[in-house]
């Protein structure tokens, strides 16, 4: 049977009911959300199910939405079923005060570094990760640089005029 977006959606709602929501199809890729405590259950179901077989983890990344109070950080999983060649996108949202999300490392080895990177950039605390520490930035760094409130530019530089070089601001 063809693995259509409707079919996947049906399967998911059959299993989780209200637990999965916000189904969308931006640019043909099925996208949905779940509560952050359920993320492992959903991933496990997608991995194990006979029909779905989303066993290839393409990508994990996070997004910061400072305006969404209470669910500022999103963790986005891109999954791929290599047999039927279907991709889906799965998101969980978490508050910035206590950004705890369960780690997918037990399911996918590849999640290890991707989660470390996400932690490094956004400070998402992956519960159950074997070795959650900074990966790209120096260990001494005391903030999470990809969050929207932190500036891009090197703040120690004095030879560039902020006004002339458009530093610090955004392009609007």
């Amino acid at each position: 049977m063809a693995l259509t977006n409707e079919f996947i959606k049906g399967k998911l709602t059959e299993k989780f009911g209200e637990g999965v929501y916000s189904f969308e199809e931006p640019y043909e890729m099925l996208t949905f959300e779940s509560h952050k405590d359920d993320n492992l259950k959903v991933l496990q179901f997608l991995f194990d199910d006979e029909d779905l077989k989303f066993q290839f983890l393409t990508d994990i990344c996070a997004v910061h939405y400072p305006d969404k109070k209470g669910s500022e950080l999103a963790v986005v999983y891109h999954l791929h079923n290599l047999v039927d060649n279907v991709r889906i996108r799965f998101k969980v949202f978490t508050g910035i005060e206590q950004p705890d999300v369960f780690s997918a490392t037990a399911l996918y080895q590849s999640a290890n570094w991707m989660e470390r990177e996400t932690y490094d950039f956004y400070g998402i605390n992956f519960v159950g990760h074997p070795n959650l520490k900074r990966i790209l930035n120096v260990d001494e760094m005391d903030y999470f640089p990809m969050r929207k409130e932190f500036p891009l530019e090197d703040q120690t530089r004095i030879d560039k005029d902020d006004e002339m070089f458009g530093r610090g601001g955004s392009i609007w």
Binding site: D59, Y108, W113, W172
Partner: protein, 408 residues
């Protein structure tokens, strides 16, 4: 001489002792900045730990402050051995977001560029594997022919390595006649060189002894580790983005996806070599297809989307309309759709993905690069466990790790 201190080893510890060796970040044997702290028992690796991030440049953060067309130069610097593929991948992502359809001719031209880049990438990787197994002359020999590819890029876009080639919707200019001549020259000369290259290494006793069985990985582990590209195919999985999610009209081309069986260095080498042959055939096919276009159609090199395609400078200075569009694009007056897209291309070493979230502003709200190197380098600890140190070195280069892509 009673004050000479003898090193006293604890009893029975001789066999059990392991040595810790720090390889990198600037180790002569590693090509690029990788740090491996290896725990060794004699010359066997017991365990190792990788540190990356030595050239972390914050691409994703920069991308949040740049308009779409200024992000192309960043993508150059991801996998700098095959920058044009990254450029095209980015343009395809933008086109998907903007729902732009490119003309067939543009697609085929892109295919030529991308396959040239693939050849350049695999050529470096394979010749460096040769260097690490002791065959420096092969590297020196094929480097000249990589120059031919660079000359073609140079003719098309004006630069050699960090190409910044193309625009959203097509190319900045048509390929010149010189570019075509250079391409023909390359196509005429390169098969002989590649044959020679294979003759030098493929059945070379020393090379085979060094690479067969070095750094193997099974298909299951490779998939679980998120391998893509030649490294996954060497393990026996025929996943190729060009076939599975065709982009830029790859569905029109006839090519095979070479696969290996054991996923060791030798198979990776063979797969890359085969891919170069396939790339050559794809370029030939693309050239034939391009010959079908006649008259005005043969002059098309970009989609007709004035609101996103930066007009040519010559026109900007002489034509009213072009000037207006130029101004609008540069000043961010054109509407940007909001949405999220994921687009991937088959990069030099795997699925290079772009996850772009736009909120309707000029610059992406969030842009994430799926960087194949970064993802599969995690497997390095596992696949070198129990191997000899020298095998670990050759595995490192045959995985084709590019520091720029890994650390973004």
């Amino acid at each position: 001489m009673s004050d000479v201190k003898h090193i006293k080893l604890p009893d029975g510890s001789i066999e059990k002792q392991t040595t810790t060796l720090n390889l990198g970040p600037t180790h002569p044997a590693t090509h690029g900045v990788f740090q491996n702290i290896v725990e060794m028992d004699g010359e066997r690796i017991v365990s190792s730990e990788q540190t990356v991030g030595y050239i972390h440049r914050a691409f994703e953060k920069i991308a949040e402050r740049r308009p779409l067309y200024q992000i192309t130069p960043l993508t150059d610097r991801l996998n700098y051995c095959s920058s044009p593929i990254n450029n095209m991948g980015w343009h395809l992502t933008c086109e998907k977001l903007l729902k732009v359809k490119t003309p067939k001719r543009v697609d085929y031209m892109r295919v030529i560029i991308m396959e040239l880049a693939r050849i350049a990438d695999h050529l470096i990787c394979n010749s460096v594997v040769g260097v690490d197994s002791g065959a420096l002359s092969v590297f020196l020999y094929v480097m000249q022919y990589r120059e031919l590819i660079y000359e073609i890029y140079e003719e098309i876009c004006g630069s050699r390595l960090t190409t910044n080639i193309g625009r959203i919707g097509g190319f900045e200019r048509n390929f010149t006649n010189t570019a075509w001549t250079k391409l023909d020259k390359f196509l005429a000369e390169y098969p002989g060189v590649l044959k020679e290259f294979e003759n030098l290494l493929t059945r070379n006793r020393i090379f085979m002894e060094r690479t067969i069985g070095a750094g193997p990985i099974s298909a299951e582990r490779a998939l679980n580790y998120g391998f893509t590209g030649p490294n996954l195919r060497a393990a026996g999985v025929d996943y190729d983005v060009r076939v599975h999610s065709p982009y830029s009209s790859y569905e029109d081309f006839d090519f095979t996806v070479p696969v290996g069986t054991t996923g060791d260095c030798y198979d990776r080498f063979l797969v890359r070599n085969q891919e170069m042959w396939q790339s050559l055939s794809i370029i030939e096919q693309a050239k034939q297809k391009l010959e079908q276009f006649k008259g005005a159609e043969a002059e098309v090199y970009h989609a007709d989307i004035p609101e996103y395609y930066l007009p040519e400078k010559k026109d900007v200075y002489t034509k009213m309309e072009a000037l207006i569009w130029h101004f609008k694009i540069i000043m961010g007056e054109t509407a940007m759709p909001a949405g999220e897209v994921y687009q991937s291309v088959e990069g030099g070493n795997g699925e290079l993905g772009f996850y772009l979230i736009s909120d309707g502003g000029r610059s992406p709200y969030r842009l994430h690069f799926r960087r194949p190197c970064f993802i599969y380098y995690q497997a390095y600890a596992e696949i070198t466990k129990g191997a000899m140190l020298s095998d670990a070195i050759i595995t490192l280069s045959s995985l084709n790790l590019i520091a720029g892509e890994m650390d973004a």
